[in-house]
């Protein structure tokens, strides 16, 4: 009986760190509600090495996709698609859009490499933000909310689907396209224009 009690107490003492972790998580999480992607607490850094939060710019629309810097196959097409989508908007509407390109490759893509990529592709930072998170779990959380699937190969390549998502001013998904092409998806473009016209 004594031995059992001692074991119980010992168990309680040795498990204290686990309980501290419980409380830490409880205090760091904020109360959020709804479908808005703006409530995502995933830490992101942009090409200017500044912390970035979805929705912070207060733009009328956000066009968001995921890619990675070393990708020579589909990613140049993804970048070109985003550029052409923005370019096809009337000039007066472009200022009301933020294009967010999120890296699938934290740890490899950095603010510096993203800045270089933005320069090569002539992406104006007032419109285009190339961002990367701090780890794979956070990246996967963002991907899961967008419907992006990806898998990392042993050789460093990342296999992923292509998805362009339009968020409205409240961070709700308004339109999405899975078509990989340098040309904009006309339905998504129309949805974006309708949103901006209102």
């Amino acid at each position: 009986m004594k031995a059992t009690l001692a074991m119980l107490l010992l168990g309680a003492i040795s498990a204290v760190p686990a309980c501290e972790e419980h409380q830490h998580v409880a205090s760091s999480a904020a109360a959020v509600s709804g479908e808005s992607l703006f409530q995502l607490a995933v830490p992101l850094t942009d090409q200017s090495n500044q912390p970035f939060k979805l929705g912070q710019a207060g733009k009328k629309a956000t066009l968001i996709t995921m890619f990675y810097g070393d990708c020579n196959i589909s990613c140049p097409i993804v970048l070109e698609n985003v550029k052409r989508t923005i370019t096809q908007l009337p000039a007066a509407q472009r200022g009301a859009v933020q294009a967010v390109l999120v890296s699938l490759n934290p740890g490899v893509d950095t603010a510096k490499s993203l800045a270089a990529l933005a320069k090569v592709h002539q992406m104006d930072e007032r419109v285009y933000r190339l961002v990367v998170s701090d780890n794979d779990l956070h990246t996967r959380q963002l991907a899961a909310t967008l419907g992006v699937k990806y898998r990392r190969g042993a050789n460093g390549e990342i296999n992923h689907n292509t998805r362009f998502v339009v968020l409205d001013q409240r961070g709700q998904i308004l339109s999405a396209s899975d078509i990989l092409s340098v040309e904009p998806d006309l339905r998504l473009l129309a949805d974006l224009q309708t949103l901006l016209a209102h």
């Binding site: 119980l8 309980c19 959380q141 689907n161």
Partner: protein, 250 residues
């Protein structure tokens, strides 16, 4: 009063601290090859049993943002914990039955609260390849038949308790024959080629012929798990889908 409740939860949580067992790791012949038929799996620790209703209740009591009325739809659909009587009462379900109807986001947050994470697909597959005496029993037709037998049983209204099936060689229970389980990279399954081949990929994802790109085609039990997980969104909750967590090796 608040302190008293916290202390109560604290003591319960500590006395029932989850049991993690070491898994040595090694080379896995995976059912989901990407580049090469095998993948290296580093040593890790795995929860010996899936997370139960009682354990998940402690989590939602300590983290009220994960109670079903508070969890945002971005992270959990209306089905989240819908079989519980209330946001903080799992009745009529038994305390030691595995918790199900939890979204990937909720499962992931639970594991983080234990200083752990959801297993990757290959970690789960590695642990689940074992039986009571072998680290890889998958080539044994009798073992496969036994697991497949689970799928033939009519589903029961209430899931049995965790830990009733014998442990495998690592001391892990219930990897088969009880529930489906979330993995960390559920949204990475089936993506076997780069997005140039997207048209073909889409066909494979929807027509069920995706096993063409899978290794180990005879292992239906594992393929069914992959198919289920690949069809899910992170917000989804399913009545037969629960989870367990893993930690780095000590």
């Amino acid at each position: 009063m608040k302190t008293a409740t916290a202390c109560f939860a604290f003591v319960l949580g500590c006395l029932h601290a989850a049991d993690y067992v070491p898994i040595a790791g090694g080379t896995l012949r995976t059912a989901l090859p990407l580049d090469g038929e095998t993948v290296p799996v580093a040593a890790f620790q795995m929860r010996s049993k899936p997370v139960t209703n009682a354990e998940f209740l402690l989590f939602v009591l300590a983290n009220s943002e994960w109670q079903r009325r508070n969890a945002p739809t971005l992270y959990a659909t209306n089905a989240y914990l819908s079989q519980w009587r209330s946001a903080t009462d799992f009745a009529p379900l038994p305390p030691n039955a595995p918790v199900t109807n939890v979204s990937w986001f909720a499962a992931s947050a639970y594991c983080a609260s234990e200083g752990a994470a959801l297993p990757s697909w290959t970690q789960w597959e590695f642990a689940a390849a074992a039986d009571a005496v072998r680290t890889d029993a998958r080539h044994d037709p009798a073992w496969r038949a036994q697991i497949l037998g689970w799928y033939e049983k009519p589903s029961v209204e209430s899931l049995p308790d965790v830990g009733l099936h014998p442990a495998n060689i690592y001391g892990v229970h219930d990897l088969h024959q009880l529930i489906w389980e979330w993995v960390d990279d559920f949204n990475g399954l089936f993506v076997t080629v780069d997005s140039r081949a997207q048209g073909e990929q889409k066909v494979l994802e929807t027509c069920g012929a995706a096993s063409l790109s899978l290794g180990d085609k005879e292992n239906y039990a594992v393929l069914m798990r992959i198919a289920l997980l690949a069809a899910l969104n992170g917000q989804d909750s399913v009545g037969s889908l629960g989870f367990r967590c893993v930690k780095p090796a000590q």
